[in-house]
């Protein structure tokens, strides 16, 4: 790696770690996660004591992340909701903040490439986020071990790690969006609002809009319904939120065998066993690629804008 890029990444990481904003966001996620884990743990223990299936088949450790007792949303619901906020919160003033504080011009008057400036912002934030989610995940697993008194299986650990990395990637998409808006908008307040608007759009309204645009007519002939459902799903998959949810469902609920509508022919004769880890990975591969593509696409636009931007405003 280039020396100057390394220096800038180090500076950015230090900035995040010392910033109030970042620590508040982390605390928010940490506390909500903890609360949901606790209630999930209680609910699972109750359920397990009544059931007679062998413990290993239950994917206990995965359930810790997905189960809700009805009073508090599950870990994945919380994280899925707050992760974009984390990405936006870390990036919305990445560039316009530096312009307004008049540090950008001093930075690029040094013998460094301009791209190193935004690259370092993106890499540093993603590194910090990845470390945070891995730490959070392992902390939760540790708690679960204490709680249940048994260790997770290797498969569960692998599924959880991939889930955590995918979450970091999902935050990465929102980071890219935040950086893009921080270049496009002069005022940090504007870029923050614009980012939040996009987030709320995908989190709350997008599904609704798709439902209105492509209503599924359940009374109609099977072929047409099937077709409608497919279009429906394609449209939903434009949203990073849908892609992430599909990844999470597949990884943490191995009993879900397919992400799309199935025909009767596909279902008949299928044995209702959980998917293996390999099969799950195969199933989410396109979604992961989609999330990566989305981040890269947004970053590429940021990059072009930034390279052409006049440094003075």
């Amino acid at each position: 790696m280039r020396h100057s890029l390394r220096v800038l990444i180090k500076k950015e990481i230090a900035d995040h770690i010392h910033s109030w904003r970042f620590n508040i966001l982390l605390a928010l996620i940490f506390l909500t996660a903890l609360a949901s884990i606790y209630t999930a743990g209680m609910a699972i223990r109750d359920a397990v004591s009544k059931a007679d299936t062998p413990l290993g088949d239950l994917y206990l450790f995965l359930k810790v992340f997905t189960v809700s007792d009805g009073r508090l949303p599950s870990f994945i619901t919380f994280v899925g909701f707050l992760a974009p906020l984390l990405g936006i919160g870390m990036a919305f003033d990445a560039i316009n903040g530096e312009i307004n504080r008049r540090t950008l011009v001093r930075l690029i008057a040094q013998p460094i490439y301009r791209d190193d400036v935004i690259l370092s912002k993106w890499i540093a934030a993603l590194l910090v986020i990845t470390v945070f989610f891995l730490a959070l995940g392992f902390f939760v697993m540790g708690l679960a071990i204490l709680f249940f008194g048994i260790p997770p299986t290797f498969e569960e650990v692998m599924r959880i790690i991939v889930f955590l990395l995918a979450t970091a990637l999902y935050v990465g998409v929102w980071l890219s969006l935040g950086i893009l808006f921080s270049i496009y908008f002069r005022q940090p307040a504007t870029s923050l609002l614009a980012s939040i608007a996009v987030w709320l759009f995908f989190a709350l309204f997008y599904d609704m809009i798709v439902n209105i645009l492509v209503p599924i007519d359940t009374e109609g002939p099977a072929q047409i319904v099937f077709r409608q459902m497919q279009i429906h799903q394609y449209l939903l998959r434009i949203s990073p939120t849908t892609l992430y949810q599909e990844v999470v469902t597949t990884l943490l609920s191995p009993n879900v065998r397919s992400l799309g509508p199935l025909t009767v022919a596909q279902v008949v004769g299928a044995i209702p066993t959980p998917l293996s880890f390999d099969q799950s990975l195969l199933l989410i591969w396109p979604q992961i690629a989609g999330l990566v593509a989305l981040s890269v696409f947004l970053f590429a636009i940021s990059f072009t804008l930034f390279m052409r931007q006049d440094i003075r405003h």
Binding site: K11, R102, T103, R106, I108, Q110, P111, D310, I311
Partner: protein, 312 residues
């Protein structure tokens, strides 16, 4: 040898349809302190940014130490220290940490960087404040930190954009003194821009007067004065009592006098030769009291105003 370290050829930058810098030709020699003077919006900052390779010229060429700034900005930025207009720092880092970051971006090792930073902070008078967060610095302290920041890469050339802006007169004088000493000691070439004339005229070896994107005059201060006022080499300030307009025609009739202007407290007499004796005689003969009669010398301010008159 007085080799050229900054060379601008036909340098032009057009924003929209308006040229901010208009076919600028300029050569700056090694070791000199050059002042780029001009009112706000003249195009000084734009010129500086083009020299650093941070803004692309619409036309023309910039060479710094023989390197084309537009094509190889990294090489140029290695040798040029820059204090931007209205400099900003990372407020929650200390002065020392800010300098260390700049040093690291210039490829300095940590140890070397700390040593260089501490020396410079001492030199600019921030030795005591080096471990304070920049957020707590005053305007003058920031400006001095900015100078240290421009110097930490051990540049051959330093470019200071409006370095005296926002400083009080005392601070300004101190700051300029600092720049002058640094250029003398280090043999550095200094290019500074300003719209304040008085202060910078003392430390500049040469100045260029820049108005609406055009360099309308350049040279040493005395060269400029000579060039501009050569047609009226003799000018006198004549204060009399009472100041009456009648005297103007009387003074005009003195042989050699070309023009008489009335100012608030004195008449300004422009002449072809030394007419002081005749002027004095005329004043007394007409029954006025001669309060003061002295030859007028030109400073940068007069020069500057003269050029403005020509342009506007």
């Amino acid at each position: 040898m007085a080799d050229v370290v900054i060379e601008l050829k036909g340098l032009t930058k057009i924003y929209g349809t308006q040229p901010a810098v208009d076919h600028l030709d300029l050569e700056i020699k090694r070791g000199e302190v050059f002042g780029l003077l001009g009112p706000n919006g003249a195009g000084k900052t734009t010129t500086i940014l083009m020299i650093l390779g941070l803004v692309e010229p619409t036309e023309g060429e910039v060479k710094v130490l023989g390197i084309n700034s537009t094509r190889e900005p990294l090489k140029v930025k290695k040798w040029v220290g820059y204090l931007p207009e209205d400099v900003g720092f990372y407020e929650d880092m200390t002065g020392l940490e800010n300098l260390k970051l700049t040093a690291a971006l210039n490829g300095m090792e940590e140890k070397e960087a700390v040593k260089a930073a501490e020396e410079l902070l001492e030199k600019v008078g921030l030795g005591e404040a080096k471990d304070k967060k920049v957020g707590a610095y005053s305007r003058g302290m920031r400006q001095r930190l900015g100078l240290a920041d421009a110097l930490i890469k051990k540049p051959q050339i330093v470019i200071l954009d409006e370095p005296t802006l926002g400083l009080d007169p005392e601070g300004m004088k101190e700051f300029l003194e600092l720049i002058k000493n640094l250029s003398r000691e280090g043999g550095m070439t200094v290019l500074l821009s300003s719209h304040h004339l008085h202060q910078v005229q003392e430390i500049c070896d040469r100045v260029g007067i820049f108005v609406k994107g055009k360099l309308i005059a350049k040279g040493t201060v005395s060269e400029l004065a000579k060039e501009l006022f050569s047609t009226e080499l003799y000018t006198f300030e004549v204060a009399v009592n009472p100041m009456e307009d009648d005297l103007i025609s009387k003074l005009m009739s003195v042989e050699g006098v070309k023009k008489v202007e009335k100012e608030e407290k004195a008449f300004i007499v422009h002449a072809e030769k030394d007419v002081s004796a005749e002027v004095a005689k005329t004043v007394v003969k007409e029954g006025y009291n001669l309060v003061r009669l002295m030859p007028k010398s030109y400073g940068l301010d007069d020069i500057y105003h003269r050029y403005f008159e020509g342009v506007q």
